[in-house]
């Protein structure tokens, strides 16, 4: 991975993603009225075909909420749960507890998409503010199927425009409910370069500011 990004660039990107996911998890915490813990982002850069392994076991069933990041920086945001955790979360928010993912009805799916919407809203707005950019997100969509199949479709979309992709993974946990989930952010090299440029600009600005104050 070192050949794609320097250590400093990597730290910059991790910090940017931390800001986004930090705000997103605060939103989730307010929604469920529980403490939400997030972990340090994991970063992975490689050829599109090699990325599925980073997501997890390919034949495991997962519930994925998908949002497209649009505007000055384009990318993809994913929210991933195991079906059990997706059910628990939907149950917590909609107030009906089900035991089998096959009974997940339109209402539950809608709840999960709405969770995606709110989390993306919080996360992406904070990113846009931090990077001084205009960033929006699309309407959410969700799918529950074999992880490999879902990821495969998303990567085909990324692969149309780029050969290499940058993936961030942030685990989160809702305290007390044992609901774990994962955020994923996908950016192509062009978007990554834009983010790095924006953070550098921000850092320089801050350094200059401090210098002039002194």
């Amino acid at each position: 991975m070192e050949k794609y990004l320097t250590e400093f660039e990597r730290d910059q990107l991790v910090e940017v993603i931390n800001i986004g996911t930090g705000n997103a998890s605060t939103a989730l915490s307010q929604m469920v009225n529980k403490k939400v813990m997030i972990f340090v982002p994991d970063i992975f850069v490689d050829r599109v075909e090699l990325v599925p392994k980073f997501f997890g076991k390919s034949e495991e069933i997962m519930t994925v909420v998908f949002l497209r990041i649009l505007g000055d920086v384009e990318g993809i945001m994913l929210l991933m749960f195991s079906p059990e955790n997706a059910l628990k979360l939907a149950g917590l928010l909609a107030g009906n507890h089900k035991k089998d993912i096959r009974f997940l009805d339109d209402m539950d799916r809608s709840v999960l998409r709405e969770v995606g919407n709110i989390l993306a809203g919080a996360g992406i707005t904070s990113l846009a503010k931090f990077l001084d950019m205009n960033i929006l997100h699309s309407v959410p969509d969700s799918a529950t199927d074999m992880l490999g199949s879902v990821v495969d479709s998303i990567l085909a979309d990324v692969g149309q425009g780029s050969d290499v992709v940058l993936v961030f993974n942030v685990d989160f946990q809702v305290d007390g409910e044992k609901i774990d989930g994962q955020f994923f952010f996908l950016f192509d090299p062009k978007a990554t370069a834009k983010i790095l440029k924006a953070t550098e600009k921000k850092l320089n600005y801050k350094v200059n500011n401090n210098a002039s104050n002194n």
């Binding site: 075909e49 998908f66 490999g148 479709s153 990567l155 085909a156 692969g159 149309q160 050969d163």
Partner: protein, 166 residues
């Protein structure tokens, strides 16, 4: 006991009688299976994109300069068909006797790929077009929908076992 070859996205494999070729979790990708019933030789390719546009060539050259790795052999559906035929002929199959089967090409998300049909359908169309151009009959297809699939080709009889989990 048979031997199983597992392939992932962007890969292909060919083999003889007594082997299975399996590929897991197919989404919008297209899986092309070619089989020669007489020689009991066949192969499978798991392609990700419909075809190589002009823009793609630039991108790949650009990426190659950075990565110094060969391209995945079965990245594009139409090229995979040609490649698969070539590999099958190398181990003794005959082009005239080949029969094709297609699976995959699903559409997992509605918001993905703004156009009406989505990339899964484009993949399917691309593979189908190339097979028709080459005059290879498509025996069977199990494509589309919104479901992920697993495909297992038995090279003893050319049967493809397609299963879903949802």
């Amino acid at each position: 006991m048979h031997q199983t070859i597992n392939i992932d996205m962007g890969e292909m494999a060919v083999g003889y009688n007594g082997t299975h070729i399996k590929t897991g979790s197919i989404g919008s990708c297209i899986v092309i299976v070619l089989y020669d019933y007489e020689a009991k030789i066949g192969g499978m390719a798991h392609a990700m994109l419909p075809s190589r546009g002009e823009r793609q060539i630039d991108l790949i050259n650009e990426a190659r300069a950075h990565i110094n790795k060969t391209e995945f052999v079965a990245r594009y559906a139409d090229e995979s068909v040609d490649r698969l035929i070539k590999e099958i002929e190398k181990i003794g199959g005959k082009r005239e006797r080949l029969k094709a089967k297609l699976t995959g090409g699903a559409r997992m998300f509605k918001v993905l790929n703004g156009d009406k049909d989505g990339i899964g359908y484009q993949n399917f169309e691309s593979a189908k077009r190339r097979l028709q151009e080459l005059g290879i009959p498509i025996e069977n297809e199990e494509t589309g929908g919104t479901v992920g699939r697993v495909a297992d080709l038995n090279l003893e009889n050319g049967l493809v076992d397609v299963s879903t989990k949802m």
